[in-house]
Symmetry: C2
Subunit: 389 residues, 2 copies
């Protein structure tokens, strides 16, 4: 029997499934080397340490009960301490909310700060998860190009002078997804000045900041108008679903209120496990050193292989951190058209067009070096070379 | 330095923090026996079994990686099987979405089905978490009284004939929060008929259905227009943050799309742990038997003590399941006014007014019997008697 079901919200019409996630479904074939995802390397996730953390926190009965909406106090304090070191100012635990991955923070911030139709500035190209959140929120989305030194704040200033009045500006400041670049100190200061002058929030999305290869990135954007997001997903494990937001207390209060409706609270268990590992500084330092070393070797291997394979036909900058290289063809190759052929040859990537509604990016592609060891990356590039004829 | 921060969303003005959660913060004092919460008894949460489950799933590396947005396939299949048994029809895993507690399902369903201003019918008194979600969604909320046999569908029918056109009707069908009652088979059929006739969704919220004392509750509401919510929080542990939604596939698809934006995915680890325990039928049956027995004894103890203490000055029905008794005074006692005095005497409850915007409920209170053993419940009632003079 088929019946006419009641209607659903009109907002669904404007919401597209994440192109990357749909693609991931297609590229999960055993015979495909996927450089399309943004997954941490499974073999570098500290499974044994996670198992120890589980045993330790499950010995205390509070770890299985409901917890506070804003997160387990012990974890908020550890994050506040680590953020104090990173930002160079004294962050209080009351300025920290633990979220279900930093993606939840993005959604709750959009709900807390945006009325439907509010103007929002995003990177071009942008993290697709942010585009999806702002689209669900009914925002009026404006894209500002990412250059080699991060968000083009000169272009942003021109647009602001032209009358653009964003409620917030979202940018991935370190080891950009998908562009790979890091925002310079000059751009950070310029953005903070513009926020003061034009009265907008800065949403500094920073999941990759601790995965640096040579030297740490510049200090975070310094402003009273910054909301900073980060996460344990890339440095510990995605399955903890532990992200965090650092923001003025009034924003934390608003997000806590919305989080009550969204899910009551996060998992006491995985939050205590994350705290267990983040507080163990000797172990964490060693773990991060391993992660940085191995991801750095993978990044260099992929960069070298791409350079050798495509020469002048494409350009790709080396990575200073994070998980991605950004490849741009100069021979007219359309990466969206290349993808099906690449899949036939057993390799996957994300076409540049997935990250921006702009033809400029149709000759580019995002390649994740993190998930595969160097020999597999070499084989991936051989397959890509055969697909690109 | 104090600066004028940029404004926040206008929707926050209409959103109130959950009265119960704010109250819980006040009643967390060591010297207070709290019957205010809705927490499962810590000593009845199967901590050892949870630790075993953690060890077992963490031996497989997939448990620490990102997972599918709609939930781990193994858990969706187990939930589909259990729901098939409970509902008496064949539920497919594609009709199941795993959520971050059933509270997240409530929020995503509201986003998927409701446009701002859409009419929604709720119980009176209602689960406060639902009121909060529908308020955040900007719904036009209509309350229909809960009687001894559940939602008063005769009153609902009168309102529908009078022109009310809800997009959805939310009700807690089994062992109601806060009223304690269970919807009769007659009311379930009547509600399903009205949904067919007037074309609305039924959101059957059922976190307590498996915590029955004498006999299981009637079969779930049978209709193609039902979205059913339940959870592992009350039968296993809240910290797993594993809830689920059973709905027509088109609704599951919409919720999956919104969940991508909300948090990308749930925790592979806690979902696999929940699956591990839910699939172990011999253990689960024994565990549920223990839970039912002990909660039943606590419910009977609290009922007996209240009857002895207040006699004709108040009435309270015995519980057939769930976690709550609903006490109504007949001597003019205002429970909101009683609460501060009760706290002074070292006992807490939730005043009836927290669950409905209606003076009718100002002489009632919700008392949770689940969190405390019988002798503590006896002491709580002694303190309540002294506060009520």
């Amino acid at each position: 029997m088929s019946i006419a079901l009641p209607p659903m919200s009109s907002r669904l019409g404007s919401v597209q499934s994440s192109a990357i996630r749909d693609l991931l479904a297609l590229t999960a074939r055993e015979d495909v080397i996927s450089l399309a995802g943004g997954l941490p390397a499974l073999e570098l996730i500290p499974s044994h340490r996670i198992r120890d953390a589980a045993q330790s926190v499950l010995a205390e009965s509070t770890s299985v009960q409901y917890g506070e909406t804003s997160g387990w106090r012990g974890l908020r304090e550890i994050v506040a301490h680590r953020e104090s070191v990173i930002t160079g100012r004294s962050v209080q635990y009351a300025e920290v909310v633990i979220t279900h991955g930093s993606q939840q923070a993005l959604t709750l911030i959009a709900q807390a700060l945006l009325d439907p139709g509010a103007a929002v500035v995003v990177d071009e190209p942008a993290y697709t998860g942010a585009l999806q959140v702002f689209s669900i929120a009914g925002a009026d989305i404006h894209a500002i190009p990412i250059g080699e030194d991060g968000l083009d704040t000169d272009e942003l200033e021109r647009r602001l002078r032209g009358g653009l009045r964003p409620t917030l500006v979202h940018t991935v400041s370190n080891f950009h997804n998908p562009r790979g670049v890091t925002m310079s100190q000059f751009r950070r200061r310029h953005l903070a000045e513009l926020a003061d002058r034009y009265g907008f929030w800065i949403l500094e999305d920073d999941p990759y900041g601790e995965i640096w290869f040579g030297a740490p990135p510049p200090a975070p954007i310094f402003s009273d108008r910054v909301v900073r997001l980060s996460s344990a997903s890339k440095i510990l494990a995605p399955a903890l679903r532990v992200g965090w937001m650092v923001a003025p207390k009034q924003v934390c209060d608003a997000v806590e209120l919305l989080k009550q409706g969204a899910d009551l609270c996060g998992s006491s268990m995985t939050q205590q496990m994350a705290a267990h590992m983040l507080a163990d500084t000797p172990w964490l330092d060693l773990h991060l050193e391993t992660l940085r070393g191995e991801y750095g070797r993978r990044a260099a291997a992929l960069h070298r292989a791409l350079g050798a394979a495509f020469g002048d036909a494409a350009s790709v900058k080396p990575a200073d951190g994070g998980m991605f290289l950004w490849l741009t063809f100069h021979d007219g190759t359309d990466t969206t058209a290349l993808l099906p052929t690449a899949l036939d040859h057993g390799v996957a990537f994300v076409p540049g067009k997935a990250f921006a509604d702009n033809a400029t990016y149709s000759t580019s592609a995002r390649l994740c070096f993190a998930s595969s060891p160097a020999p597999v990356l070499d084989e991936a590039v051989r397959r890509l070379t055969r697909a690109h004829v």
